[in-house]
Every structure is written in structure tokens, then in C-alpha cells.
């Protein structure tokens, strides 16, 4: 290591000026080690976004004790997270939660993880190294103009850190009464000047129990490995990342089912000029699921996406782009249901443009639209208009109008149950079948939001929303007679509204103590349209949404390098299947025992031995109290 200078320049001469301790007296090394507890970066990022965005920061995740993605998502007050059993979760925003919730789009580093089978997320297949997450952006409300159909009620963007920021080694070990996991990650530099990290991870989750105490057969064992490499280039960068995983899914009274997959992302960004940025991304994704009681599926996805932003005349920020997504699946009927045709190629093509126009220095108008083409319904139009007034940097008032759709999934059109139907006169008679005429569900949404930071120590946000849904999914008796062989078929027989308010606030009560609070109040109302004969509204008509939920989170920095965090949360009752309201408390005590060693004691769902979050009694699984010891070593 050859020094660039023969002699070091003298230490900056400081004139202490009577201030015995000042931050300017710290050395570079000491400044390197000052722990920043502020969230100003995150707040800057969303300061002028005209949408209901909540950001879960890396520190929030670490301090919460969350060890899986859905558990981390509980930190967002604008999401409703319900744990169905040991490995399955229902996650939505602004209502319409269900076993297969389908109105939320989730991306991990730009890779959409929604399943074309039902346009939702199968959470048991998704895992990331929690310590490598930079932030999770949770946008409630429609994001279709940028993100496309399926971003009906919200978008979750899980963003991992650049390989540049995860250099060195990290090992974590957690052991608790319900689950155990271990992760090893190492980051280094490449000859070419880039940075990389590689990781391996194993997770073991016990079966949950039913209310009676019997194991429900929903545990899992996961093995996952992956990498990410980032190259900085003048005025741009290249990112390549990938994951490969295998999961054994416990099955009640049967051998484990197998789930495996791999994905690869390549992304190039380039600053063409000061006023012009280009981003091109390619995603390859492969999943194999052999779950005889649910899906038997092989799925390959190719997704190419390009986006160009440019500034015109100082007043217009224009973003436009296009994408093409191709999915090919091969489905085998499971014991319960099947799909016809069993193999299908699906494609989605889209083009969008959006202009953010500064009408005045404090007034911005955003107008945009996307056209997305899909196999089932052809072209869908997804427009939105937003107006933001920012009288001062710490205050933003915004409003928006959007139209969005949920395009049909395989389930809506191609589903058949039971898998082996009764044959009458050579015609199979299914109990339930996808609807050949099923159209996209639509939503028209109006929002009004206000964000304010009255003082550096506290800030709050409130969003009022009203959404009008039409053509919601129902199951209708078959009226077409023998022409169609299902007794009931999927159709668009319902409509509804959701209105409510989302609020959250942050208060730095003391330098070492921060409080976060969040509240969602909503009224989801759905009704069957005239002529509908839906039998019980078990599908598209929302009945599993709490009218209110709130959380209070406290983050305390204690002496001797310790931190104490707790979250008290409340979720209101669900109507059908009926689930009582509940309070729960999660807590983590963390001790930074050494510079490179953290020890954490995590308690989840501490208030009750168990509680239910989703599903019909008495057969449903319950969520049990858990205690975990976690060790983190950096090397």
C-alpha cells in the first residue's frame, strides 16, 4: 500500500474556540462510526411523491426482529398482513384480502413475483437475506400507470442494497421455538472494478397448530443461495443478480411437497445527459411447484422492460417506456383442481408515458397513461392524473384520480374443479370452472393526501381514499346449459367501494427514543349486481378486511450499545370467515456485544399463547407466541 504523498498533510488546525466537544473535533475515523438514527434520507426520497408511500427502512427491519418478508411487511401501516399458517400469508392494501389476495403487485429488485395462476403472490416461494434489504417501498393505491395491471390496490417494492454496500462477511443464526434459520453472506471486489456478494441461507419453520393443538402440516424447509454484482460505469451502472432455491413444503399426513426455482436479473442504467436517464432490465424466472393438494406447476417467465426519463424545458419531467412479459406454464391437475388448457403461453405487452409538469414552482401536475395488452382481454387502458402542491419543502398536499384493472388470471378463465370430473355423455361435468367471458375487474380511485414535517423531530402523513370497483369476481350458476360443463362458473357479478383513511406519524421524542404510529380505517362495501346468483360471495367479494387496524412502534437506544424495540398492533375483526379482532406485541432486545457481533432476543405475539389471523374456525391454523435468539457476526 503505497501512500500517494511522501508526507501527510498536518491535521487540520482546530481552534477549539471554547467548545469543548463539537462534532468538528471528531476524526475521520470517528465520523465513520457515528450511528445515524435519523430517517431523513427516506423522508427526502418521498418528500415530494404525490402518492401514499410508506418506506420500511433497513434499520426498521433489523430492529423489528422480522426474519421473513411478510413479517417485515407488518411494519407498513398501509398494508394488511394476515398469517394463514406457518408459511402462507394474505397481504393486501386497501382491502380485498383473501387466501389468494390478487390486487397487490410485489417486486423484488424489479422482478415481479406475482403468479399468473391467480395474480397474487405465493409467499412460501419468496425469501431474501433480510440484512441485505436497503428498503421496502410500500405504495398503497393504484400504481398501474407505471407498474401495470395488477397494481390495483398497491405496489410493494423490495429493494436490496448494492453489492458495493454489502462488502465483507456476515453470518446470522436464529433459533426459536417455532423456526430456525442461518445465513452466510460474503461481499468482495471483482478484478473488473465491480463488487459482488454471494449468500447461502437455510430456513426451517415448524408446522403451525390448529386451535385444538394438532399440527397443521404447513411448515417448510428452505435452502437458498444467490448473488448480486454491481459495476459502476461512468454515468451509469450494470447490476446482475440471481437466486436459486429449493423448498420442502410439509403436507398434512403426506410426504413433503417440493418447490424449487431460480431467477436472474440484469439491469443497465445510463445517464444519457443531465436531463435524460435510461434503464433497461431483463428478468428470467423459473418455478417448479409439485404440491399435490394445491398447484402442480412449471412456470418460465421472461420479462424485458425499458424506461427513459427526460426533462424538457425545465418544466416537464417525462417518463416513457415499454415492457414485454412472456410466461409459459405447464400445469398438471392436482388432487383438488386443474386448469384447461394445461399448458399455456401468456404474454403481456405494454407502453406508457407520463409527464410531470411544473405548473408553478410549488405546483406539479402529473398526467400519464399505460396501455397493456394481455391474452385474455386485449388492450387495457390505465390512466392517472395527480396534482401536488408543495408550499414549502416540509409540506405537501396532493390529490389523484386513477383507473386501473386486474386482468384475468389463469384461475379466472381456465380453472376446473374437481380435477377428475363426473363424465355425463362424454362431457366432463365440473363443479366449478373458470369463466370464458370473465373480464378484467376495474377500479376507479380518488385520493387526497397531506404530508407535513412541522419540526425536525416529527412528521406525519394522512391519505383519504375512495375506490369504486366494478366487475368483481363471483361464482355464478351455469346458465349456458350443456355448452359449458361447470355447475358454477367464474364471472364478474359484483361491484363495490372502499373508502377510508391511512395515517402515520413519526416522533423523535428524545435523541435516543423514536415512536412510530400508524392507523388505517376503511369500509369495504361490496354487493352482487342484478342478476347475479353468486353462492355466498366466497371469491371476489371482500369479506376478510378489518375496518380498522393500528400499530405503535417504539425504538429505544439504551446505554451500553443496547437497543429495545417493541410494536403493539391491533387488527379489527374479519367478517367471513369470522376472525376476532386481536392485539399483539412484538419485541426485540438487541445488544451490540462487540463491534462485529450482535445478539438479539426476539419475542413475537407475546400477549397470547396463540391467536387466529385468518381462516374459518375450527379448522384454521393459529399463530403462536414465539421466542427467538439471534446472533449476527460480521467478519
Amino acid at each position: 500500500m503505497a501512500p500517494a504523498f511522501c508526507s501527510e498533510p498536518a491535521q487540520p488546525a482546530l481552534q477549539a474556540d471554547g467548545q469543548s466537544y463539537d462534532i468538528a473535533d471528531l476524526s475521520l475515523e470517528q465520523l465513520n462510526n457515528v450511528v445515524i438514527t435519523s430517517v431523513s434520507r427516506q423522508e427526502e426520497r418521498l418528500a415530494n411523491a404525490a402518492a401514499s408511500i410508506f418506506i420500511i427502512g433497513a434499520a426498521d427491519i433489523r430492529r423489528s426482529g422480522a426474519r421473513s418478508l411478510p413479517e417485515a411487511l407488518r411494519l407498513a401501516p398501509n398494508l394488511q398482513v394476515a398469517r394463514q399458517n406457518a408459511r402462507d400469508y394474505s397481504v393486501t392494501s386497501r382491502g380485498f384480502n383473501g387466501q389468494f389476495a390478487n390486487k397487490l403487485l410485489v417486486l423484488i429488485d424489479g422482478r415481479s413475483i406475482y403468479s399468473p395462476l391467480f395474480s397474487g403472490v405465493l409467499w412460501d416461494a419468496q425469501d431474501v437475506v433480510m440484512d441485505d434489504i436497503d428498503r421496502i417501498e410500500v405504495i398503497s393505491g393504484p400504481g398501474a400507470t407505471i407498474w401495470g395491471a395488477n397494481a390495483v390496490n398497491g405496489v410493494i417494492n423490495i429493494i436490496t442494497r448494492s453489492a458495493k454496500d454489502t462488502q465483507g462477511g456476515l453470518a446470522t443464526f436464529s433459533a426459536g421455538n417455532r423456526d430456525r434459520d442461518a445465513t452466510v453472506r460474503y461481499g468482495g471486489t471483482l478484478q473488473s472494478g465491480g463488487h459482488y456478494r454471494v449468500y447461502g441461507r437455510v430456513v426451517d419453520v415448524d408446522d403451525a397448530e390448529r386451535a385444538g393443538g394438532m399440527a397443521d402440516g404447513t411448515g417448510l424447509r428452505r435452502r437458498q443461495a444467490g448473488f448480486r454484482a454491481d459495476w459502476d460505469r461512468p454515468l451509469g451502472g450494470l447490476t446482475v443478480s440471481g437466486d436459486i432455491y429449493g423448498v420442502d413444503l410439509a403436507q398434512p399426513g403426506r410426504p413433503d411437497a417440493a418447490l424449487s426455482g431460480a431467477n436472474l436479473i440484469a439491469r443497465v442504467t445510463r445517464k444519457l445527459t443531465d436531463d435524460s436517464d435510461l434503464r433497461v432490465q431483463l428478468v428470467l424466472d423459473h418455478v417448479e411447484r409439485n404440491q399435490p393438494l394445491a398447484f402442480i406447476e412449471r412456470l418460465d417467465v421472461v420479462d424485458l422492460d425499458a424506461q427513459h426519463s427526460l426533462r424538457v424545458g425545465g418544466r416537464h419531467n417525462i417518463t416513457w417506456g415499454g415492457g414485454y412479459r412472456y410466461a409459459q406454464d405447464r400445469l398438471t391437475p392436482s388432487l383438488v383442481y386443474g386448469f384447461i388448457p394445461a399448458d399455456r403461453s401468456l404474454h403481456w405487452g405494454s407502453l406508457f408515458a407520463q409527464d410531470e409538469w411544473s405548473l408553478r414552482d410549488d405546483l406539479r401536475l402529473t398526467v400519464g397513461a399505460k396501455v397493456e395488452h394481455n391474452n385474455y382481454t386485449g388492450a387495457e387502458y390505465l390512466p392517472n392524473v395527480r396534482l401536488a402542491w408543495q408550499p414549502e419543502p416540509t409540506q405537501l398536499l396532493w390529490t389523484s384520480l386513477s383507473r386501473t384493472v386486474r386482468a384475468p388470471s389463469r384461475y379466472d378463465r381456465d380453472y376446473r374443479s374437481p380435477a377428475t370430473p363426473v363424465i355425463v355423455g362424454n362431457v366432463p361435468r365440473y363443479g366449478i370452472g373458470g369463466g370464458p367471458d370473465f373480464q378484467s375487474e376495474t377500479a376507479r380511485v380518488a385520493e387526497l393526501g397531506y404530508r407535513m414535517q412541522p419540526a425536525p423531530a416529527w412528521s406525519y402523513s394522512a391519505t383519504l381514499f375512495y375506490a369504486d370497483y366494478d366487475r368483481l369476481r363471483t361464482q355464478e350458476p351455469n346458465v349456458n346449459g350443456p355448452a359449458y360443463s361447470g355447475l358454477r362458473q367464474v364471472a364478474n357479478g359484483a361491484a363495490g367501494t372502499n373508502r377510508g383513511i391511512e395515517m402515520w406519524a413519526r416522533w423523535q421524542a428524545m435523541p435516543s427514543w423514536r415512536l412510530n404510529g400508524g392507523l388505517t380505517l376503511q369500509r369495504v362495501r361490496t354487493h352482487l349486481k342484478e342478476g347475479s346468483g353468486d353462492s355466498g360471495g366466497v371469491l371476489g367479494v371482500a369479506t376478510s378486511d378489518p375496518n380498522h387496524q393500528w400499530q405503535l412502534r417504539s425504538s429505544h437506544d439504551l446505554p451500553r450499545d443496547m437497543q429495545l424495540d417493541w410494536t403493539l398492533r391491533y387488527t379489527g375483526a374479519l367478517v367471513r370467515p369470522a376472525v376476532p379482532s386481536y392485539y399483539e406485541l412484538d419485541a426485540q432486545w438487541l445488544w451490540k456485544a462487540r463491534r462485529n457481533i450482535d445478539v438479539a432476543l426476539i419475542g413475537q405475539n407475546l400477549l397470547h399463547p396463540y391467536h387466529a389471523e385468518f381462516g374459518a374456525a375450527p379448522g384454521r391454523s393459529v399463530v403462536q407466541r414465539s421466542v427467538v435468539l439471534k446472533l449476527t457476526v460480521r467478519f
Binding site: A4, F5, Y21, L28, V34, S38, R41, S162, P234, D274
Partner: protein
């Protein structure tokens, strides 16, 4: 390029940490007791060190420190001129920190810049995350031999010499040697050894 320090990996300084943290805790404790003002001897900075403002204080302190680790040409007695763009809070903090202090015997002046303002006569320019045309500003500053510092994930890609990064809840900085060369600035090896990353030429 070999004469420069090798590409850095994250530096960890265990012995320093305890000392530093206890100092910071002392500072924070003092800030917390700010209302009492008894336990905080002449701690004008008390309120500035409270949680939400610590980040900008650290950045401002870094900026002040950077001046001491770069060889600036020109009149050795003249003031070091620091420009700050799109970060008024950092500008105020640097002004406060540098009041009455000198770097190698040179006083420091701070002024806030707006988009399009000339960068001539500056020794250092800090461009905040919200700057409108960072690439053009940084290119212009490089031509004038200014030490440029940014606060953006892609700061070095945009042409800055030093860029702040948030790593494990700490403000760290990375350095681009090609950018420093383009501005004809020599950075001390000590600065490079503390940097989180040092980007070398291709």
C-alpha cells in the same frame, strides 16, 4: 495507478469504536439534557446533535475535514471557499462548524449556490441530493479544479470526487481517483484509507 492505496474494503477499527461511541453517547446525552444545560458545558451544538439533525452535522463535519486532506493550489494564506448547492441545512451547519476555525492556517468561507451559479473560485463544492443538474454542475466544477462532494447513490457515476453513502446506519464516503485526477487534485492517502471505497481508473 498503483501509487494509490489499494481498493478499500470496509474498515473496522475496534479499539476506536468504544472511545468514539462513548463520546457520541456523551454528546447525545448532553443534547438530551439540553434543556437543563448543566451537564452540557458550553454545548452550543446541543440541539443540532439531536437525532434528526445528526446526519447533516456529520456530513458538515466531514466536509470540513476533507479540506484538510487535499492539496489545494493557490495563495496559501487565502480563504478556502466552500460552495453548497441544494442542501441549505448542510450549508448552515458547515457555516456554524467552520466559524472561528481554520484549515492549515486558512480560514473557511461558505456560500450557498443555486443551479447554474458559477463554480469558479471555489475549493470545494457540495451538491445535495436534490440538485437539478448534477452532471453539468459537477463537470463545470471539475474544469475549475474544485473538490466535488455529492450525496447521491450514483454520485461518483455522475462525476463527483467524493460521495456520501449510508452504510449500516453510518455515513461513509467513497472516492473516485479518476475524477480527482481530472480536477488535478491530490488526495492524501489517509483520506483514502478511511474511505469506504476507492474507485480507481480503468
Amino acid at each position: 495507478m498503483t501509487r494509490y492505496a489499494k481498493e478499500s474494503v470496509p474498515k473496522r477499527q475496534p479499539p476506536l469504536r468504544a472511545a468514539c461511541l462513548s463520546l457520541v453517547l456523551l454528546l447525545l446525552g448532553a443534547a438530551g439534557a439540553g434543556a437543563g444545560a448543566v451537564a452540557a458545558p458550553q454545548m452550543q451544538a446541543g440541539s443540532a446533535l439531536a437525532g434528526p439533525n445528526l446526519e447533516r452535522s456529520v456530513k458538515a463535519a466531514y466536509l470540513f475535514k476533507f479540506l484538510g486532506y487535499v492539496e489545494f493550489s493557490g495563495d496559501p494564506g487565502a480563504a478556502l471557499n466552500v460552495g453548497v448547492m441544494a442542501a441549505d441545512d448542510v450549508a448552515a451547519e458547515v457555516t456554524r462548524l467552520t466559524a472561528g476555525r481554520t484549515v492549515n492556517g486558512r480560514p473557511v468561507t461558505v456560500r450557498t449556490l443555486r443551479d447554474g451559479d458559477p463554480t469558479t473560485g471555489l475549493q470545494m463544492l457540495f451538491v445535495g441530493a436534490g440538485a437539478e443538474r448534477p452532471v453539468q454542475t459537477l463537470r463545470n466544477a471539475a474544469q475549475n479544479g474544485v473538490l466535488t462532494v455529492t450525496d447521491d447513490e450514483n454520485g461518483l457515476q455522475q462525476g463527483a470526487i467524493i460521495n456520501f453513502r449510508l452504510v449500516e446506519d453510518r455515513i461513509r464516503f467513497e472516492v473516485s481517483l479518476p475524477a480527482a485526477e481530472r480536477s488535478n487534485l491530490k488526495l492524501s492517502s489517509r483520506l483514502l484509507s478511511v474511505a469506504y471505497h476507492v474507485q480507481k481508473g480503468n
